[in-house]
Amino acid sequence: MIPELLQPVFVISAALLSIGLYGVMSKRNMLKIIISLGLVDTGVNVLIVAMGYLPGGTAPIENGNYALYVDPVPQALVLTAIVIGVSVMALALAVAMGYYRKTGTLELDKEGVMKW
């Protein structure tokens, strides 16, 4: 059984993932799609941090009680993931701006990104 605190956390993670994927699948506006991707990223980050949670644990910073630290590794991974998410988002915005400059619109073709 998972710790009580993690139930809302997992719900947040699953909700952000599905809201984000819904946005990516259903929207044609490029900025909207980028926003949705950001939500997916946040959802995954919440999931990873939750993987390291220890009931009653403390932050892994010197306080003399090693046995109560939460798992520090997922936090290190999420630091990386957050920075990567922002990098990708900035580049995506640049691409959207370039597209706008060429076409005068931010809307993709009718099929959106799901065209094969």
Binding site: F10, L17, T80, G112
Partner: protein
């Protein structure tokens, strides 16, 4: 039609994911499981990797913040890659916005309050950013948030100097030098110790500012790099006014 389909799919994803998270994948306590094996020597240990980090950080790296020790020392190569991702994105963004950057739009003169407030606040913001990344091995924070705070200072500069923006060339030089020094710190590890990014400086006194070997050096390099890169990204996205 498409929207309805997307909604159905995403609700299905929500149900599957929350079912999986809430029942299937209860994360186990790292203190109770996850005994690892050294894959090269085959030696077995009866504790988990994070437990090793938690217990040995003090002796191995001299940092009080375990997350920092992992980010900069134990998994330092990941962080070099992470810095490179940001660098790659900033480069790609500058490449794509090259022709778009010059533009002529009506210049809105910033109001007096903003101008004079920025003069007062800016040095403190830079100071806070520097504090965050210099103390990365002692307190929460480190090179990435510290760099982001400095970039926030740059944002204020962009807001005030509406016409000329940031000194692009200087930012680019800072960014390059910071990146080079990060890789060089790593390569020196190959020279003075045995391995890339290995610590070769004395660990110093635990919880003091001048401690933890190469961690503060690397975080300073990261702070400069992240600050100049994020500043450059915002500068490029805003564009330069040309009369």
């Amino acid at each position: 039609m498409k929207k309805a389909l997307a909604a159905v799919i995403s609700i299905a994803i929500f149900i599957v994911l929350s079912y999986f998270f809430l029942t299937g994948s209860a994360p186990i306590d790292y203190l109770k499981g996850g005994n690892y094996t050294d894959p090269i020597t085959g030696e077995q240990y009866n504790h988990s990797v994070p437990q090793q980090y938690v217990e040995d950080t003090k002796n191995d790296t001299g940092a009080s913040n375990v997350v920092t020790a992992i980010v900069v020392e134990y998994r330092g190569f990941d962080t070099l890659g992470e810095v490179t991702v940001l660098f790659t994105a900033a480069t790609g963004l500058a490449l794509l916005l090259d022709e778009l950057k010059r533009r002529t739009l009506p210049v809105v003169d910033p109001n007096f309050i903003l101008k004079s407030a920025v003069k007062v606040v800016l040095p403190f913001i830079i100071l806070v950013g520097a504090y965050i990344f210099i103390h990365g091995h002692l307190t929460p924070g480190g090179g990435f948030p510290g760099g982001a705070v400095i970039a926030a200072g740059f944002l204020l500069m962009i807001l005030v100097h509406t016409t000329r923006g940031l000194p692009e060339r200087k930012l680019s030089i800072t960014e390059s030098l910071a990146g080079i020094s990060y890789v060089l710190i790593g390569l020196l590890g190959l020279v003075f110790a045995n391995e890339f990014l290995q610590n070769y400086l004395p660990l110093g006194n635990f919880t003091m500012l001048f401690s933890a070997g190469i961690i503060p050096l690397i975080y300073i390099a990261i702070g400069f790099k992240v600050g100049s890169e994020l500043g450059g990204i915002m500068h490029n996205l805003k564009g330069v006014h040309e009369e």
